[in-house]
């Protein structure tokens, strides 16, 4: 039982770290020597890094908002998990934790989909590691949420 609990907690922390890195690192698109989105577009020219704020289009702002929301909900679900761990009756399920985690996964999925569809088509532009992390954390959060639905506090 303790092993399962520890495993679930470690997975949750890993998901939280992935979401933080994906939201904060401004490398959703890379192309040549330019890395752009979600917050800055930086160019690595001869002097050094020259950064300016990313385009303020509506779809990019929606992606920013959804990533921040998924991060917040993952954090809330962690707090709910720790809270319910001590306060839940024996045999109860971690409902709040599961709901927040699944909502977080839905938000990450929406953000990644919107970015995939709306990012401008440049030949030299490829998707960066922050984008990959967003797509990776979507199934991880979903699985984690489903585990919380199935998990029960032992008698």
């Amino acid at each position: 039982m303790l092993l399962i609990l520890l495993g679930v907690l470690v997975m949750h922390l890993i998901i939280l770290i992935l979401l933080i890195v994906s939201t904060a690192a401004s490398t959703w698109s890379v192309g040549g020597d330019k890395t752009t989105d979600l917050w800055y577009t930086c160019k690595n020219s001869n002097g050094g890094y020259h950064c300016k704020p990313a385009i303020s289009e509506d779809w990019l702002q929606a992606v920013q908002a959804l990533m921040i929301l998924s991060l917040l909900f993952c954090f809330f679900s962690l707090i709910a998990f720790l809270f319910q761990l001590f306060k839940l009756v024996k045999g109860g399920r971690f409902f709040f934790t599961a709901i927040f985690q699944i909502l977080a996964s839905v938000f990450v999925m929406c953000a990644a989909i919107i970015y995939t569809v709306m990012s401008p088509d440049d030949e030299s532009k490829k998707f960066g590691y922050a984008y990959v992390l967003a797509w990776v954390s979507f199934p991880l959060t979903l699985i984690s949420g489903l585990i919380y639905i199935v998990l029960r506090k032992k008698e």
Binding site: P53, A54, S56, E57, D58, Q61, A62, Q64, A65, L66, I68, L69, L72
Partner: protein, 220 residues
């Protein structure tokens, strides 16, 4: 020790009046405007002294990419002739100018400098003017709106959930109280009548009350 105190006091007395004498000028940071529209560039200042009668505002303009500044409204020549107008109120510390019919050549930095004698030392403040064909959405507005709405909905749902739980609990409690009250009245009426029939009803009422209390404990 005494010399140190004297030195420190001289230093403080030397520094502090300088700070209270400086004038602080406020303008916007960046202004976005549509091609062909009018824009009002505001300028205000903070000064420890009262607004004197000789307060002056001066605006200079530096086009994007150029290195020299020109005066924006004092002389009626240059790119702003007949288009710029001083609409501020110097006695109210407002030094705004109005530029009409904007063009792409008006992209640049406007610097406002104010003098409030004897407060004349200060750092002028600049505002950048950007002229667009269509004004873009400001960064962060939609982001903040989406986050605010979702978090607001979350708080609302949690509040409604706890409110429903509280109301349902209260409704159950008030229902059992009214039943208990009815049974008690029946019991007391039966007691006034023939005695042998009173006891079973009283016992029934007591047992049903006990059952109700047990069920309430189970629900909790």
């Amino acid at each position: 020790m005494l010399t140190f105190v004297a030195l420190a006091s001289v230093l403080l007395l030397g520094i502090v009046p300088e700070q209270t004498e400086a004038i602080a000028i406020y303008t916007g940071w960046e202004r976005h405007a549509l091609l062909g529209s009018d824009i009002r560039l505001s300028c205000s200042f903070f000064s420890w002294r009262f607004t004197s009668d000789d307060v002056t505002f001066s605006w200079t303009y530096r086009p994007d990419g150029s290195r020299d500044s020109i005066s924006a409204y004092v002389d009626n020549k240059g790119p702003f002739r007949d288009r710029v107008e001083f609409v501020g109120n110097p006695s109210k510390r407002d030094g705004s100018i109005l530029i009409k019919n904007l063009d792409y050549n008006d992209n640049g930095t406007f610097t406002c400098d104010a003098k409030n004698p004897p407060d004349i030392v200060g750092r002028p403040s600049s505002v950048r003017l950007l002229v667009f064909e269509t004004v873009p959405i400001q960064a962060g507005v939609i982001t903040g709106a989406i986050i605010g709405v979702v978090l607001g909905l979350l708080v609302l749902i949690v509040v409604i959930y706890y409110l429903m739980r509280f109301l349902v609990a209260r409704r159950v409690f008030s229902l059992s109280v009214s039943k208990h009250g009815k049974k008690k009245r029946e019991g007391s009426q039966a007691r006034q009548g023939p005695v042998p029939t009173a006891d079973p009803t009283k016992v029934k009422a007591a047992s049903s009350e006990k059952k109700k209390q047990e069920s309430r404990k189970d629900k909790k």
